[in-house]
């Protein structure tokens, strides 16, 4: 078909996951609509699952093969730094102008990380203002990646024939996959919660409107769920993974899960003994994950006062598992739904096998693919926005007043005990 407007083909978003590599190329077609130009997903070699440090090296051949197989335009790639090489610390600083804030955070970062920050790429995200008693402080998220790690990654990706256009971090890509579809002014006040459940670990990203305020990795992932099932049923881990996939495919809900859905899932689980066994095996792990997420939400509510999140989006390889959804819904007060990152994108060029379900595993690749786009894109659902939102009242009790200078926030401790941590933070405990 003859096109009157020229599509802007974006670089390929490359997500090197624990169990699979996903490449997604978007194009902005006439009228500012997004469409998938090409997409490809390949399983990671088994050696990479056993030895995660070899992940990038083993991914080279797979990426090269994928670039040949799928009809990508060009070889420009936006890649993602592996989670294990990105060091994240939270700092609280006195109020100051943005350029000074970044400089102060970088100065403070010299003592935060177990490596020389002169030999590292240090970036700062302004998370927001935090009230500590009468004092207002600015919380910043400091990210640092040693140059050596970046150079290694670049070298390996370069060997695959890809031309690296940009390097990003996962949680930014995750949040971008949501943020790029916010266009309404009222939505800019909405709190977005994205939980990515991967094979090895999960991460929680919370942001208000267009800015990220909080991110936290949680060392619970699909791998642990598979291992629990394998232990319970006496089968191998790959068999357990296949069983879980099969069960998920049999009852795969898309979108928000209601309470009745949850009860249906539990009822179905009770009827099928295998499903029941899987449910029992994974319950404690998923409840742990739910508890961690709930703590993150609580920390966010305490630290950044304001609107409460209306919903929680689950993305990643495990997000479409109805059991996970059902149990998280039970564990978390906020309604949880399987995120559908590609819902507002024309996916007609994707393979039918890749288009099944919520496609929540494409969130990182989509976020990476969106990095160089300008402007925002309209959501396709067209649902009317509810005027009376459940405005969460911020707790009145604020963290204790902090001393002058930068303070390091131990995010794990702070999430576990937000109020106590706020007091501890006021003491100025440096890492």
């Amino acid at each position: 078909m003859l096109r009157l407007t020229r599509a802007e083909v974006q670089p390929i978003g490359l997500d090197i996951g624990q169990d699979s590599i996903k490449m997604l190329q978007l194009e902005v077609v006439g009228g500012g609509a997004l469409a998938v130009r090409a997409a490809c997903k390949q399983a990671m070699p088994d050696e990479a699952r056993e030895q995660p440090q070899l992940r990038s090296a083993l991914a080279v051949d797979v990426i090269r093969r994928m670039m040949r197989q799928a009809p990508f335009v060009g070889k420009r790639v936006i890649a993602c730094l592996p989670r294990e090489v990105v060091h994240v610390k939270n700092l609280r600083l006195p109020p100051m102008p943005a350029p000074d804030l970044a400089a102060a955070a970088k100065f403070e970062a010299r003592n935060l990380f177990p490596f020389d920050t002169d030999q590292a790429q240090v970036r700062v995200i302004h998370a927001g203002e935090v009230r500590q008693g009468a004092e207002v402080r600015q919380e910043v998220i400091v990210l640092a990646v040693p140059d050596e790690e970046i150079n290694n990654l670049l070298e390996q990706l370069h060997r695959s024939g890809a031309v690296i256009e940009a390097l990003d971090v996962e949680f930014l890509a995750l949040f971008r996959s949501v943020e790029k579809f916010i266009r309404r002014r009222e939505d800019e006040q909405e709190v977005q919660v994205v939980v990515d459940i991967g094979l090895r670990r999960s991460q929680v990203v919370i942001g208000k409107g267009r800015e990220i305020s909080f991110c936290k990795p949680i060392d619970i992932g699909g791998g642990q769920l598979n291992a629990s099932v394998a232990r319970k049923l006496g089968i191998s881990v790959p068999e357990a993974a296949a069983l879980r996939r099969r069960l998920a495919a049999q009852t795969e809900p898309v979108g928000e899960t209601s309470v009745s859905d949850r009860s249906d899932a539990s009822a179905t689980a009770r009827r099928d003994p295998v499903r029941q066994a899987v449910f029992d095996a994974t319950r404690s792990t998923i409840e742990d994950l739910g508890r961690e997420i709930a703590l993150c939400l609580r920390y966010y509510s305490v630290t950044f006062r304001g609107q409460r999140p209306a919903r929680l989006r689950l993305v990643g390889g495990e997000a479409s598992d109805p059991q996970v959804l059902a149990m998280l819904n039970a564990a978390i007060a906020v309604p949880t739904e399987a995120g559908r990152p590609l819902f507002s994108v024309d996916t007609s060029r994707m393979k039918p096998a890749d288009r099944q379900g919520a496609m929540s595993e494409w969130a990182v690749a989509l976020g990476l693919g969106l990095k160089l786009t300008s402007g925002h894109f309209g959501a396709r659902d067209g649902r009317a926005r509810t005027s009376s939102r459940d405005e969460g009242a911020a707790p009145d009790d604020a963290p204790a007043a902090a001393g002058i200078g930068a303070e390091v926030v131990d995010i794990n401790k702070a999430v576990a005990e937000p109020r106590a941590a706020a007091v501890a933070v006021a003491g100025g405990a440096h890492a």
Binding site: I150, V163, I164, E165, F175, R176
Partner: protein, 208 residues
């Protein structure tokens, strides 16, 4: 959302440099191909010029040969001119035997020669004739002389008819001029009556 970029500065620089190298390589290839083409064209032109030079050389060789021949001819001409000059100085040599053979050929069978005298007469040419012969003649003092071989024949013939026939034949020789009979008279020898005569003629010894 504020974007963060972790790509180190050296990577885009490297890419730019790589693009530059690729561009330079491409340009070098284009230049090399251009130079190659130009050299090929030059070679072809040189070969064409060499072929034309070889052709000209062959022509020149022919011309040289002709020139050499011309030189030889000029030398010969000079020699001939020198000989001509000598002949002009000395006058033409007429062999008496050939002269006698020619006279004998003109004589009827019954005629006999009794005597013959050869005299060379040299006289100065008139000024008009000298001018008419050109500057070269005036330059050489020898050319101013008019040299002639005067021949006088005395003989006997049975009749005047034979005598007339003899004079007629002599007159047919182009190199003889001034043919004139000095006398013709009756003579009797041992009862035979015959005509005795004397005929004179001259040969131009001036040459050319």
């Amino acid at each position: 959302m504020r974007e963060l970029e972790f790509l180190p500065e050296w990577y885009p620089r490297l890419r730019r440099r790589k693009r530059l190298v690729v561009l330079q390589t491409y340009m070098a290839i284009v230049l090399a191909v251009g130079l190659g083409g130009w050299l090929l064209l030059c070679g072809r032109n040189i070969r064409a010029k060499e072929a034309s030079v070889a052709k000209l050389r062959v022509e020149l060789l022919g011309t040289d040969l002709r020139l050499k021949k011309l030189d030889d001819l000029l030398v010969l001409r000079k020699q001939m001119q020198a000989q001509d000059h000598v002949i002009r100085e000395l006058g033409l040599h007429v062999e008496v035997t050939r002269m006698l053979n020619a006279i004998e050929a003109a004589m009827p069978n019954e005629m006999s020669l009794l005597g013959m005298t050869f005299d060379i007469e040299e006289s100065a040419k008139s000024a008009i004739s000298s001018l008419a012969r050109g500057r070269q003649s005036s330059d050489t003092p020898a050319a101013a002389l008019d040299r002639r071989l005067r021949v006088r024949l005395t003989g006997v013939a049975p009749t005047d008819v034979d005598l007339a026939s003899f004079l007629g034949r002599l007159g047919s020789y182009p190199f003889l001029d001034q043919i004139a009979m000095t006398y013709a008279r009756e003579k009797s020898d041992s009862g035979h009556i015959m005509r005795e005569f004397e005929v004179g003629f001259s040969l131009n010894l001036n040459g050319g």
